[in-house]
């Protein structure tokens, strides 16, 4: 009897392996191969007018390490840091409090985050343009209240881009923190309160460390994309803030320099990989909370 069921298990395992085979093939074809292509492309030269010249060169990578393009990477990192810090300050309390609510309210809070996502990201960004533009909604309100006298010229500035980033990426932080805070056994917090800890202390010594994996995963989920969301920098920054994503897009299209765009992508991928590695070392796990 026991043997039989064991035999079935082995069979099942084999069947399962066959079932996941398409996913492996898919990954190999659409993730693995394109990456190899990208990697090889990054060592080629751009052709005179269009396309690629099949000669090996390290020139593309050398160009990236010129002060100008390093500056783009530095700017991207700076913006990613700023947005991530703001997102954490807003998203952590939201996710944490949401997890402490009753079922009904949990649903409502979740809905509030998700409804905007039924509209395209670009259209939602145009909404911000209407708010920020000269004589736009915000200017009208401020001037109507007598707080300012002339338009503030908020659009096409650095803060406008940060607001756009926060707006686009906040849900990822909230959901990651929420999924971590949901699992938190609140009896542990109650126990520490019973033993005399202030609510502040109970939070910092019990709740915070237990929700840290969610927070860190939220950081990764917001930090990594914010280096590449070029359309936010385009629309709200008036094309004046140049992120690595913008450079890649421009080199790919108007610059007609695909190999250089590929080299930039490879460096960005390496940077992303380093951030994930850092996350793994700090969180002690390779799983991103809220996703896997």
């Amino acid at each position: 009897m026991a043997k039989q069921s064991q035999g079935r298990k082995v069979k099942e395992a084999k069947g399962n392996r066959l079932l996941v085979l398409p996913i492996y093939i898919f990954t190999l074809l659409f993730v693995g191969l394109p990456f190899v292509y990208l990697f090889l492309l990054s060592f080629l030269k751009r052709a005179e007018v269009w396309g690629v010249d099949f000669t090996f060169t390290l020139e593309n990578y050398k160009r990236i390490f010129s002060p100008m393009y390093l500056g783009n990477f530095a700017d991207s990192l700076k913006l990613a840091f700023t947005s991530t810090i703001c997102i954490t300050l807003l998203g952590y309390p939201y996710g944490y409090i949401m997890a402490r609510m009753n079922k009904q309210w949990k649903k409502r809070m979740l809905l509030l985050i998700l409804i905007p996502f039924f509209t395209s990201a670009i259209i939602r960004l145009y909404g911000w343009i209407i708010v920020f533009r000269s004589n736009g909604v915000l200017d009208k309100i401020l001037m109507g209240l007598g707080l300012t006298e002339k338009p503030l010229k908020l659009l096409y500035t650095y803060p406008a881009v940060v607001v756009g980033m926060i707006y686009a990426l906040l849900p990822f932080m909230i959901l990651a923190v929420y999924s971590s805070a949901e699992k938190l056994d609140y009896r542990l917090v109650e126990a520490s309160r019973d033993l005399g800890a202030s609510s502040w202390k109970a939070f910092w010594t019990v709740s915070f460390p237990l929700t840290l994996p969610g927070l860190l995963s939220g950081v990764v989920l917001t930090f990594v994309p914010s280096m590449g969301l070029f359309f936010i920098a385009d629309l709200l920054g008036g094309n004046k803030i140049v992120l690595v994503g913008n450079v890649i897009q421009e080199q790919m299209t108007k610059g007609r320099n695909q190999p250089f765009a590929a080299a930039l992508s490879v460096v960005l991928l390496i940077l992303t990989w380093l951030i994930l590695k850092l996350y793994r070392n700090i969180a002690g796990t390779s799983e991103l909370e809220g996703i896997f």
Partner: protein, 348 residues
Amino acid sequence: MKKSLLILLVLLLFLTFVTGCGNKEQEKGELNLYTWDGMFPPEILEGFEKETGYKINFSHFDYDEDMLAKLEETEGGDYDLVIADDYIIEVVIAEGLSQKLDTSKLKNYEQYNPVFMSQFYDPKNEYTVPYAAGIPLIVYNPAATDVEIKGYEDLWNPGLEDNVALIANYRVINGITLKTLGESFNTENLDTIKKAGEKLLQLAPNVRVINDSNTQDFILSGEVAAGFFYSSQVVAAKMANADLKIVYPEEGLGFGIMASFIPSKAPNAEAAYAFLDYINKPENAAKCYEYVGYYCANKGAEDLISAEMKDFLVLPADAAAGEIIQNVSAEAEQLHSEVWSQFRNACE
């Protein structure tokens, strides 16, 4: 809960990063037209369908480069008629992706304005006919600034601090800087381009926004006092606010031509000829130019364009001294793109 969260997150990622794209299958009796959105007024497209019986299957691209990639992928098939910019057509022809035109099939061939023909991309007019020409121009609001603008040089005026909008085309922006130094748009001299780059950096404090699409909004909403835009956008701004002033910069104009060609393996070339005939009838051409706001390349249409728009759609006689912006050497192109990145970094 966990599973639904996972699904939600995947959905979020999808909605955040995916932008749409689509391509329709072609059939017999169809004209597969491939160009930018908004190049033809709806009445022209409908009129063509009614008159000839062909059904138009209109696909759009945003960038010339997308179009080229698509043609390479289909090896010159799928589309019957493409309208794109001059510099990319040079590549299309060089790659053999377009077919020679049989001009005997084009009834109104003599209407094409020769000023816009025999250009670098097709010196013998074997593959293309011009559709329209664009000239980036300065437009400004005299009510919003005391600076009187006559040429590119005036955009550098400190009186315009944080008050200028520019298109995002670096060959054009670097080009006007070259013009202020008395050089050509198409110089391949690297030192000259570098010198222009240094001068361009000084423009940074005046730049409020750099963008390619719907730039007329910037000046109409009062976001900026002056802009350097594509001609269709300049016309759109002027039509919405008659107080704006259009400037034909005294340093010299740079222009680009949009031309039509038939891809090498077009499934229905006859439909393409029929469409070219239809839009090149002067009365139809006039409607097209009034709609797109580009310079008229049809001699017969010049007299049919309404009086209030004529000034913007018919090239002034003295403007013909302009230069066509052409492809330059890979080194020069690369330097241009570096100069541009440096400039944009300096803007913030």
